[in-house]
Symmetry: C2
């Protein structure tokens, strides 16, 4: 049996017990809310992770790339929402997915795109389900609830051949900026009102709106009212990370993915040490106290090699391509971390960090045994 000690570093460790606990918690929360939970697989990008996230749910997922959609379809998942703005050039791959039996939801906020997609879909001999994308405050893609563009786009999607109006969808990515429970609850309610308002506009125009979909891990976790919604999409809750922990989505000891790294140098005169996990192994998502977070995580907090105990006061303060510089609030614990010893880095942003690896080394709770290797699908 492989042990942690025998792994080459840096590598990505996934604690299956924590993943299962995180997945179960969200599943139970939305059993109670009455929403269909459609886990977003952009974080996990693994069929093994998806199977755990789908336990107790209806079986549909969300993805952020067509490569994910194709991979999950290859593994038997047949209800997939591709939640990044559709463009006509992607129609051949979308049509191929539909033809192989995938119920594929897509999103747009543009009549021009809808019209071109209609032409291309007719040419491909398929009908594409399209949700109207809404901007509930993130200021990324989407239409603003209440505006006349929504029923106008709905009418086009409903009436044209080749497209089918499937509902509305929004993502309160602005919840990541919240620094209090009150603010999170308010953003969750704005997300809900946005989706429900737009759904009401469509229905008032005599149009169907079967799906009313919202989602982000913070709003899925802290939303108080889900009236009028049908579906919740969220992803990072499965793994957790320092950033979600700092904004209150979960506890620090819920974090299920970590990077195993080796201490490769001591710099006593800098009160610092080096590990073999840098910008490529951790990603460059930085968290700072200046953002109003409780604690500056730099490029990630540290735990011992077992992943059981965080080492307080320690963070990855700087990253280079393959080096991470560990900084300490107090005197650096050189004796605790000799050169050659190992640590775990708790990632700031699990989606970005996991994307640097092509597989998870799976452990099961506080054990040194590596019980499995789960491949990931990266790229486009």
């Amino acid at each position: 049996m492989t042990t942690l000690a025998s792994l080459e570093t840096p590598c990505l460790i996934l604690d299956r017990a924590r993943l299962e606990r995180n997945a179960r918690r969200m599943t139970e929360r939305h059993k109670a809310s009455g929403l269909r939970l459609r886990p977003h697989m952009k974080t996990g990008k693994s069929i093994d992770v998806a199977r755990i996230a789908l336990a107790g749910n209806f079986g549909g997922i969300t993805v952020s790339t067509l490569k994910e959609a194709e991979y999950f379809a290859d593994h038997g998942i047949d209800d997939i929402t591709y939640a990044v703005s559709l463009v006509p050039d992607k129609l051949p791959r979308i049509a191929a997915l539909i033809r192989r039996g995938v119920r594929l939801g897509t999103v747009t906020d543009s009549i021009k795109v809808a019209t071109e997609v209609s032409h291309r879909a007719v040419a491909e001999g398929v009908v594409v389900d399209v949700l109207i994308e809404l901007d509930s405050g993130e200021r990324r893609a989407g239409l603003i609830a209440g505006r006349p563009e929504i029923p106008a786009l709905g009418r086009v999607l409903h009436d044209l051949p080749g497209t089918r109006l499937a509902g509305v969808l929004t993502h309160a990515g602005n919840s990541y900026q919240c620094r209090s429970l009150d603010a999170l609850r308010q953003v969750a309610e704005e997300e809900r009102l946005c989706a429900v308002t737009a759904a009401g506009q469509l229905r008032a125009a005599g149009l169907p709106c079967p799906v009313v979909s919202v989602g982000s891990t913070p709003t899925a976790t802290h939303g108080q009212c889900f009236d009028g919604l049908t579906e919740m999409r969220c992803g990072v809750y499965m793994f957790g990370d320092v950033f979600q922990s700092e904004i209150g989505s979960h506890d620090m000891d819920d974090i299920a993915v970590t990077v195993l790294a080796t201490v490769i140098g001591h710099r006593p005169e800098l009160n610092a040490a080096l590990i073999d996990a840098g910008g490529l192994a951790l990603s460059k998502d930085r968290s700072t106290g200046a953002e109003g977070l409780p604690e500056d995580a730099g490029f990630g907090f540290l735990a011992d090699a077992s992943g059981r105990a965080r080492i307080p006061g320690l963070r990855v303060g700087k990253v280079y391509q393959e080096h991470g510089l560990l900084e300490s609030d107090g005197p650096f614990p050189f004796d605790l971390l000799p050169v050659g010893s190992r640590v775990r880095v708790l990632p700031n942003h699990a989606c970005m960090t996991a994307a640097m690896y092509d597989a998870y080394r799976v452990v099961d709770g506080p054990s040194d045994q590596v019980v499995d290797l789960w491949p990931r699908i990266n790229g486009w």
Copy 2:
């Protein structure tokens, strides 16, 4: 023949003509300086790129991971410096490389590591070439020139079985912080003095120091004096990027790698548009005007789909996992960039951006033809 228009986006485009020009310029510069140029392949991570970088040079390369070393050895390169602090746990892979005939240089700044490496190397039946790593001002790994630790470590590496003292090595990564030609030249001179001083210490102690190695793209480009050095290591010059361009290592139109992306949405009320290249497609290395650079590049500047002309005043202002938000200094040029049209993103930091892809789509100068597909080696 594949054309740019037929590629799925996002994808990584490499202009071979620019790569060859950049490589030739550095090769000629160091033919003149008399140093052996040992290109750092951590940026390119491709044998096809290495062959171009090695044209006219002695044939040795630098790498940042053992996976790179193994890959390049598989492709016939047999003189490789692994320029990240050695730890004893990596000895089995290092010994395997040496046994297959690779002249492998390694680095350390620690007597403890040297001693343990000696034991392990003897057990493996190999002798490991080790360079003493120096800190010439970056404040990452390395010993400080002039300190007694240098001859002490040199003595250990020279006397112990299983290790061979191969010389000294430093990397002026602090050159990236320079904001003027004078400052760059000063850092280059500090890098040189550091290496030459340490080499002098070893020789004064009766120890050999065949290799005196320095390197970073800015100091390789702007250094004025190379006396006492034997070797230059640099990597990003092959590709160039926005950051190197802003600090004066090359011109903006020397940038050889770009990300081809599709405009996927317009947001007139935000004076912005969206592309399908976000944090994963571009990496999250951000450049800001606040860092004293001439212009805020956000997460990258924009060029037209041909890659020939930069679109002035436009940048990737925000990134999400799969979305990039284009911001404009003036009114957004929506007519120039309709939804479905394509752009090229000039990357801030080529090493990080290229690492998000498993291959280059190769073009040859200002042509729409994709002439080759060159795989990359990522991971560890």
